[in-house]
């Protein structure tokens, strides 16, 4: 029980610290785990068992989250971006691994480890920013899901590398067979079985874990690694509504095993040598430098705005928790040394910690200014007596759709070259530039317009506009409590989307009640 208590305390300290200083939890838990093992030695056999059980459950839960419907219509672009990022970074990782003296197999593991981004870190950041369901968020989710799948499917290939091409091909065939089996279970069995057993929570939990161990057993029988089998078991439970029914049962289990897994992983890590540190820095540098341009370039070509593409690139510039799984797999099979594993772990830690620092609107704003197609507009005479729309994201686009044909003198300001191009082609007068920049707003005639409408996401982004608008009425969209007051104190007119939603809902409810249907009947 001592080992369990130590791991849980280490994980809780790590999570607490990560929450307090707002950095991803995984690297902090790894570091605290490492420190705790120095203070209280934990038996190696216990650590190994926690790692095996932990990785099994963590991958199983990751598989359950692999519902492609979350990606919506951005599936195709997600596949293109994800594949390019995955194989480019994988190839570079493999090449650099060989250059720094790793064996072919160790280099392949390193390549695989840095080729995918972290689902846990990126999804958390997107959730915190309420961007998970934006076009960028959906594309990024698709990229992550596909990369997770690729990593797990390629593990058997890398494992078999040292046994020659025949063994590798056999490994691929076996894995594909398991994928087909998971597909069949997903299609015909779990959608019938899970809603049926979900009436009893205890039975549901046992059934879900039964599916996990059946896949693990089958994987063992056909020679598919434990991690891949566990992930495919989760995949078999991933379609809606199976995934949401199951989630309530496995969520706590996943959080518990994930916490002790990363703490145990930290406790079992050794500090790399000076050379290992340099190698880790090199791989981290490659990852952080290459990912944003690759992702941004391909994303733009596939319909994302430049800002969204750059944002996606910055968000994806870190190694995945799956890198640790890949490394652990190799260590368990004795296919590379603890030193190489430590390098992989260090790359994961460095890049994960860097993510919240790099993936910010500020850095994206800097990069968008050096975007190759972002040459400043020729500033002629500022328009006058027009309607100016500032910011043209999803809300601004919907507004423009409303205004087509209503007024002819509409001007739009946005800093995204892709968006500007699209609006321009739709026939609106458009000015490319940063809407928080007074000079840009002056050029757009914000101080002499008939009306200005700001659809910018954050209230602070409208501060410059409100400061220079003078007597011009400025409508600013808001959502959160407190924003209305803030805007009105600065002379703007707040238009609350949450209030609009509330009114719309209450109108509907009143209608239902007066008709005596739906919500108007139950218990009334």
């Amino acid at each position: 029980m001592t080992g369990m208590a130590v791991l849980l305390v280490a994980a809780s300290i790590g999570l607490w610290l990560a929450h307090a200083v707002r950095v991803p939890a995984i690297p902090v838990v790894l570091v605290v785990g490492m420190a705790s093992s120095a203070l209280v030695p934990i038996p190696g056999a216990f650590l190994e068992e926690v790692l095996i059980l932990g990785v099994t459950v963590v991958l199983f839960v990751a598989g359950i989250e692999l519902d492609p419907s979350r990606v919506g219509r951005y599936r195709r672009s997600a596949i293109r971006v994800g594949l390019l990022q995955f194989f480019t970074l994988g190839t570079v990782g493999l090449g650099v691994g060989i250059l720094v003296g790793f064996s072919l197999q160790a280099s392949a593991y390193v390549g695989l480890a840095i080729s995918a981004s972290s689902t846990v870190v990126v999804i958390r950041i997107l959730q915190q920013r309420f961007e998970l369901y934006t076009p960028m968020g959906r594309t990024v989710t698709g990229i992550l899901l596909m990369q997770d799948l690729l990593v797990v499917l390629l593990i058997p290939v890398v494992v078999g590398l040292s046994d020659g091409p025949a063994a590798t091909a056999e490994g691929v065939a076996r894995t594909l067979g398991m994928v087909a089996f998971a597909g069949a279970v997903l299609r015909w069995i779990t959608p019938r079985l899970i809603p049926y057993v979900a009436r009893d929570e205890e039975f549901l939990l046992l059934t879900v874990l039964g599916v996990l161990f059946l896949f693990v057993g089958l994987g063992h029988l056909v020679g598919v690694p434990l991690v891949s089998a566990a992930f495919l078991a989760g995949l078999a439970l991933s379609p809606f509504p199976v995934n949401v029914l199951v989630r309530g049962q496995v969520k706590s289990l996943g959080q518990f095993f994930s916490a002790i897994f990363f703490a145990a992983l930290g406790a079992s890590l050794t500090l790399p040598s000076a050379n290992g540190f340099l190698q880790a820095l090199l791989f981290s540098f490659i990852l952080v430098l290459l990912t944003p341009p690759i992702v941004a370039l391909v994303s733009e070509r596939n319909g994302l705005s430049a800002r969204a593409g750059i944002g996606a690139g910055l968000l994806l510039a870190q190694a995945s928790e799956f890198s640790l799984v890949v490394g652990l797999q190799a260590v368990l099979l004795g296919q590379f040394s603890d030193e190489v594993f430590s390098v992989i772990a260090l790359v994961t830690m460095i890049t994960m910690i860097l993510t919240p620092v790099l993936a910010t609107a500020r850095v994206a704003g800097v990069l968008i200014r050096i975007h190759p197609f972002n040459s400043p507009d020729v500033r002629g005479a500022a328009p006058e007596g027009h309607v100016l729309i500032v910011g043209c994201g999803s809300s601004g686009t919907r507004l423009l759709e409303f205004l087509v044909g209503v007024a002819s003198d509409i001007w739009v300001v946005d800093d995204d070259p892709v968006v500007v191009d699209r609006i321009g082609r739709a026939g609106f007068a458009v000015l490319r530039g940063d809407a928080t920049d007074v000079e840009v707003l002056d050029s757009a005639g914000a101080h002499q317009a008939r009306l200005v409408i700001s659809t910018l996401r954050h209230r602070r982004d409208s501060a410059a506009l409100l400061a220079i608008a003078g007597d011009v009425p400025v409508l600013v969209r808001t959502f959160d409590d407190g924003d209305d007051e803030w805007i009105e104190e600065r002379g703007g007119i707040a238009v609350s989307y949450s209030e609009a939603g509330t009114d719309g809902f209450l109108e509907w409810l009143l209608e239902e009640t007066s008709r005596g249907t739906g919500a108007g009947t139950v218990g009334a």
Binding site: A18, A25, V387, R398, A407, R450, A519, G523
Partner: protein
């Protein structure tokens, strides 16, 4: 074998056997504990497929700790204090009378003096784990009899500690000095006092600040709470106490915090897994080597536990003035022996005090009484209604005493509003002002502060939250969340319960998806907001020309 890895093999076999047995017996309304024990018997003594390693034993212990942690979360110190006297008197009284009765019966059955003392002691322990699991399953932990039962079992856990200490002393070759034994017992009671003080200090001064900072992160809150639980378990072990006591006190220290209900609901699935492993392991560990020689005494002793123990309790509790129903329901809970009885017997065997046949005897009595009492506890109310007309219970001359029972809140015809962002809060307040019964739900306690309506802290991904919110009786479910997966789940749950729903959509994709799911009303705040912007623009005269 499932893999080449022993821990995966063992857990896999346990889970698959438990699932299979559960599926087979669930139509017979058999308690899950019985299914687990049968699964353990099948893969252990019957087919010999498994030998338990220390790792699985650790998993079982984690299950016990989580179960008692949950009990602590549910019961505050005040609730326990209310039943403190009856728990102390009945708990100790039952140990004394059962031990005396059991010893007499053993002598009558022809067992020797030492064996008789040994068996009688094993019979006095009732299983906290079995009873708490069943009471939690029935949702009656917080009932009057549930609280008395939990109090009694905690008192008995202390007695177990003392008994095991004494046994350890007897088992030593050179024997333990009386002073040494007294010191061990004193250490156990001192440890209890230290842990109680630690729990009180943590609850009052440490935890509110410490956990309040991570309350918004559900994962951090869960893991920090579990870390606290296992720290207390470790502390209890260090001080010679049972892990149950440590885990229970950890739960008690968190019971006063505003997120204890949510924490309880989220720990529940975790406990279900670990405790299933515990019960299957219990079945695996049953030793029936000398079963043919001891079946008759085993049957008689089982009967003694099943009937004699509740009888002794009826006498004790009714003497303290409690009513007939409460006394009966409490008494039924003690009609089994405990997993500690097996440990006790195994210790006795290894110390050379008893033979293999006594270990088998304890195993059979354990299996029979745990299985039979599971039925008795699960169906305790019908059992009471069945026995009452016979007039047997009136012989005990029960009193009328009751302890105050926390009022349950039943809801009907209300509107559930999930997600207290700006939209959710506005909707909840407006509905409340319109005179609707509103229950606001969120995972973050500060977001529920200041609302005029009823509130519930919890994550709706856990079915228990919606059950507690009374979804099937609700008039409408509203979600203001900006989390697509959870919105889809809510739409599904509402359809399943036949309750209309209005769900927030924040972009075109989710609007299409929710429409496809047949949601009654999609709150497309963006589209409604844009319409309002256009109206405001017209009001400003922007499009007059």
């Amino acid at each position: 074998m499932i893999s080449d890895i022993p821990i995966i093999d063992e857990l896999g076999l346990i889970v698959l056997a438990a699932t299979g047995c559960f599926a087979l017996v669930r139509y017979l309304q058999v308690p899950s504990i019985v299914a687990y024990l049968v699964a353990g018997l099948l893969i252990g003594p019957v087919f010999g497929l498994i030998e338990l390693s220390e790792s699985v034993e650790l998993v079982s212990e984690v299950g016990i700790a989580l179960l008692l942690f949950l009990v602590g979360l549910e019961l505050s110190l005040r609730k326990i204090r209310d039943v403190g006297r009856v728990a102390l008197v009945a708990g100790i009284g039952q140990v004394v009378f059962t031990a005396a009765g059991g010893f007499g019966l053993c002598l009558l059955l022809g067992f020797g003096l030492i064996e008789g003392i040994f068996i009688a002691t094993a019979l006095t322990f009732s299983s906290t784990v079995v009873v708490v699991k069943l009471l939690a399953q029935k949702g009656e932990l917080d009932s009057e009899y549930g609280r008395i039962a939990v109090g009694i079992f905690l008192v008995q856990d202390l007695v177990v500690v003392v008994a095991l200490t004494l046994l350890a002393g007897l088992g030593r070759d050179e024997g333990m000095q009386a002073a040494e034994m007294l010191l061990s017992v004193g250490l156990a009671f001192g440890g209890m006092a230290i842990l109680l003080a630690a729990a009180a200090i943590a609850a009052r001064w440490v935890l509110p600040g410490l956990l309040g900072r991570v309350a918004a992160s559900q994962e951090a809150l869960l893991i920090c709470s579990l870390a606290l639980c296992f720290s207390f378990v470790l502390g209890a072990e260090v001080m010679g106490l049972s892990l149950e006591i440590g885990a229970f006190l950890a739960g008690i220290s968190l019971a006063q915090l505003p997120y204890n209900d949510d924490l309880r609901r989220r720990t529940h699935p975790l406990m279900n897994f670990f405790i299933a492993v515990f019960f299957v392991s219990l079945g695996v560990q049953m030793e029936f080597g000398a079963v043919s020689d001891i079946w008759a005494p085993a049957a008689l002793l089982s009967l003694f536990v099943l009937v004699g123990n509740p009888f002794i309790f009826m006498v004790l509790i009714t003497r303290m003035g409690y009513g007939e129903r409460t006394s009966f329901l409490t008494s039924v809970t003690v009609a089994q022996i405990s997993e500690f009885s097996f440990i006790f017997a195994a210790l006795g065997l290894s110390a050379g005090i008893i033979g293999q046949e006594i270990l088998s005897l304890v195993a059979i009595v354990g299996l029979v009484t745990i299985a039979a009492s599971s039925f008795m506890i699960l169906y305790n109310h019908p059992l009471y209604e069945w026995i009452r007309p016979t007039g047997l219970l009136s012989l005990f001359r029960a009193g009328e005493k009751t302890t105050p029972i926390p009022e349950g809140r039943s809801r009907e015809g209300h509107i559930l509003v999930v997600g207290m962002n700006a939209l959710g809060r506005r909707i909840a307040v407006r509905l409340y002002e319109e005179g609707y019964g509103v229950l606001a739900i969120d995972t973050d306690p500060p977001k529920l502060e200041g609302l005029p309506c009823d509130t519930l802290h919890g994550n709706v991904e856990y079915r228990a939250v919606l059950d507690e919110a009374g979804l099937p009786e609700a008039r409408l479910l509203v979600s203001a969340l900006r989390i697509e997966d959870v919105n889809r789940l809510l739409a599904y749950r509402a359809a399943e319960a036949g309750v209309p729903c209005a769900i927030h959509s924040f972009d075109v994709e989710s609007t299409i998806d929710l429409d496809r799911m047949g949601v009654d009303f999609v709150i497309d705040s963006q589209a409604m907001g844009v319409e309002r912007v256009v109206r405001a623009a017209y009001a400003q005269g922007a499009f007059d020309r």
